[in-house]
Symmetry: C2
Subunit: 229 residues, 2 copies
């Protein structure tokens, strides 16, 4: 199968929605998140900047195989997973908190790009540094109290220690697995993924936060690798 | 400006993610939402079907002007609007309920397509019928109690009578206005929109659910029409 280019597509950080909004609208004040009367302008600039997540491409395909998925629509899809799969979460999981986490979990990719979990030349330490810098810049666009609250939510997701964060991580990991089943392989073929690698890198975090989802998906994935591995 | 084709792109309703998932995964049971032990399979089939919202194109462009926005990534963006603009909602608005509404508000477009608010040949009654049929089919894929709850949430959004639904509608209307400001016109030029039309069709619902947002955006939009109208 000749799939699309598996490399992530970093986007430029010097131009973008917020700058364009300021330029296109002469009445737009320079956002200063420390000035209370500008809180709404700062939020609108943040939301315009967030639009750029729609241009960050992931390894996964849409379920019709027509193109790669972007991180904006992926964020919607996993938030919908949380809403629909709430009954399969543990009793300590706060689904609305999970949804909020998933809405913001990939914003750092605007600066740091998407790094496919099965990709090569993956420098986890450099990626983590880039993502933390991105979080500082992006959440720093908001009024300070709100920026700190969303940064704390993103940190909670990344740490994957609370039940809500672990469930959110499970959904973020299981969604591309389902997409790959639907397109009959996709990135698994391109990256030469094996059942053992998948169970280790993806199965463990899914099972940790949502055992019922791993129980559902694992035999289907195993059957795919038995046929294609 | 030579923009992309403003017509909506309806997608086929006979094939799609759920059918592909069943076909690609031999262990996948035929989803029967009335059988409790198949609740998870029904939910996964619904989520695979929902993926198709990423192929429904809207009139709005991304803020870099590179392409039209799809309804999946739009749904993420407006849910993020709700999270970030919560301080500008009235005291009776339940933000988590608004976010849930916005995650599902456009799903009916999988069958019924997107109808640009400024488009021509717009048969509102036919569109409403098509959307209701789509809601029946899509939410009907879920276990009955869950399908009924999400259908009620969608009905609440459509009716725009509760404070939460009115705030959600405001966000759904203001987001493309901001996108159009960022790209310096976009659909406004293609559809020949005037300030009066915009204030009537878009300004009123925005002001109804979120007066502060209309106060913020109206002078910027007015200035754009003064320069370009």
């Amino acid at each position: 199968m000749s799939g699309p280019d598996p490399e992530p597509t970093p986007t430029a950080t010097t131009t973008g929605g917020a700058a364009a909004l300021a330029q296109a609208t002469p009445g737009f004040p320079a956002p200063d998140p420390h000035t209370p009367q500008d809180a709404l302008s700062a939020r609108m600039a943040f939301l315009a900047e967030a639009d750029r997540l729609k241009t960050v491409l992931r390894a996964s395909l849409l379920s019709d195989g027509s193109r790669r998925e972007n991180s904006g629509e992926h964020s919607w899809h996993v938030a919908l997973y949380a809403l629909v799969l709430a009954d399969h979460a543990g009793p300590e999981v706060d689904i609305d908190r999970v949804i909020r986490m998933l809405l913001i979990h990939d914003l750092v990719e605007i600066d740091a790009g998407d790094h496919p979990i099965h990709g090569h030349n993956h420098d986890a330490a450099a990626q983590e540094l880039a993502e933390r810098a991105a979080a500082t810049r992006l959440f720093g666009m908001l009024p300070p109290a709100q920026g700190a609250a969303l940064r704390a939510l993103w940190d909670e997701f990344e740490a994957a220690e609370t039940p809500s964060a672990q469930f959110a991580k499970s959904l973020d990991r299981v969604q591309p697995v389902v997409q790959n089943l639907v397109v009959d392989g996709g990135p698994w073929e391109r990256f030469g993924v094996t059942w053992d690698k998948l169970a280790q890198r993806v199965g463990r975090p899914i099972a940790r936060g949502a055992p019922a989802l791993w129980d559902w998906v694992a035999p289907r994935v195993r059957a795919w690798f038995d046929r294609n591995g």
